[in-house]
């Protein structure tokens, strides 16, 4: 049921009762389905999207392009694992094109992120080079636009 997954992705806080109503299935079937997805690793977790810019917490995000040497037998997976296990790394993707890994890092300050790259990432033997780009402003993430949306402009018209 792709519709169930899409609904959960949009709003995971809906009660199972409401989701069942919306999808026109029984609550039991829904719960069973969700459990299956969790077991299969289709549903990996539930989180909340937060615009940290609006809080007092200091927060910077950086995108790091890394060129790495693949390891014998394991290819890129092993190198990637060494990298993504750092808690600072929020996203890690294997890429086609001009570099190999896209590593997204969140830290409190520019300095903290720069230090992480200098002390943890760049020195790794299999990392050949890195190129760090800091995010200045987030407009949209995971389909959500951070600024206030468009208002309802519908007028009273009879039809």
């Amino acid at each position: 049921m792709l519709e169930l997954l899409e609904l959960l992705e949009k709003d995971s806080r809906l009660t199972t009762e409401e989701m069942a109503i919306r999808l026109g299935i029984s609550k039991e079937d829904l719960e069973k389905q969700i459990k299956e997805y969790e077991e299969q690793g289709v549903i990996v977790g539930y989180t909340t999207m937060i615009n940290w810019e609006k809080t007092e917490k200091e927060n910077v995000t950086a995108l790091i392009e890394a060129k790495v040497t693949p390891q014998r037998l394991e290819g890129f997976d092993r190198v990637a694992e060494r990298i993504y296990k750092f808690p600072e790394v929020t996203n890690c993707y294997l890429m086609s094109g001009g570099f190999d890994l896209m590593v997204i890092i969140e830290g409190r300050t520019l300095k903290e992120v720069a230090m992480f790259v200098a002390h943890k990432l760049a020195p790794l033997e299999s990392v050949l080079s890195t190129s760090t780009h800091f995010v200045l402003k987030k407009y949209k993430e995971k389909g959500r636009i951070f600024s206030k949306g468009e208002t309802d402009e519908r007028e009273a018209i009879f039809l």
């Binding site: 519709e3 899409e6 609904l7 409401e18 109503i21 919306r22 999808l23 026109g24 468009e150 309802d152 519908r154 009273a156 018209i157 009879f158 039809l159």
Partner: protein, 388 residues
Amino acid sequence: MNIQQMIRKNVRDCPPSGIRKYFDLLNEMEDAISLGVGEPDFQTPWNIREAGIYSLERGLTKYSANAGYIELRQEISNYVKRKYNLSYSFDGEILVTVGGSEGIDLALRALTGPGDEVIIPEPSFVAYKGCTIFTGADPVPLSLRQEDRFKLTPELLESAITPKTKVVIIAFPNNPTGAIMTREDLAKIVDVLKDKDIMVISDEIYAELTYGREHVSIAEFPEMRDRTIVVNGFSKAYSMTGWRLGYVLAHKDIIKAMNKIHQYAIMCAPTTSQKAAVEALKNGDDSIRVMRDEYNQRRRIMLNGYRKMGLECFEPEGAFYLFPCIKSTGLSSDEFAERLLKEQRVLVVPGTAFGDCGEGFVRTCYAESAEKLKEALRRMSVFLEQFR
């Protein structure tokens, strides 16, 4: 000079919409929830808006051909083939109009006049009756019934046909009931009409909004193709109400006749909208699906809510309306709507706005966010307490 006397009689006598008073009340309220609108709450998908913007940047600010840009008519031709198995040539069988509204008006003006009768199954969208009256023809209302799930049945249709009948309006998925007609339902209507000199105006503006099964057009029946004017448009499917764009499909002689009126009265449909519509037809299927799924979820929320509060409501399979029966309250539709608005600040439209047979029902539109719908349900349930 008596100004009133200068106005043509059938225009003067045509009653204005009766629900103005509700909207006036609504405007004075702070936190009212309106289930009274009849248009999508979604914004037009961005790729479509962007195509409109781009057409302006390119300086496409002139008239198009009367019938609409060829490119758009070709896309419409592909689309109706792909979706509804309808074959209409861009060259002479498709006319791009200012909304489905213009299509309805053109069709009635091209076909009817004094002495003709137009059968209008009710409850119904309000434009058919008004536009019929303006041509000088006589609207013949036909009451559909909840026990038939507000479908048009061959018996009812047969009972309304007279030697003067020129046109039957068939409008499914329906505003205000949300009813649909399946292929089997339509086949019975085709049997009634196939050897009579009666034209069908098939208003299929909600064709993309069906839940559970695909829309079927009466024009897909070979016997009906040349007797039908299909009216469709972009307002509901793509959330493009303000762009004012629609189209009609018909036999080439009919299109030629409608195009005559169109070229003198309108010239051509707005060209920015036409360019945006090309993008909608080419790359809009995903947007439609997302909106349809969302409407469907809201439909179920509302239906479930009504069942829980003991409001009888048949399950509609199309459009974005529910048409619950409020007879159990002992109130008239008008009283129900007025009191619900005053006491609980929820606007619904009395069924009588859509024809006399709408008495005992109200139209509720679920083109609203799920949050608002749930709050509206809560308020309606409080309102209904007093009638238990």
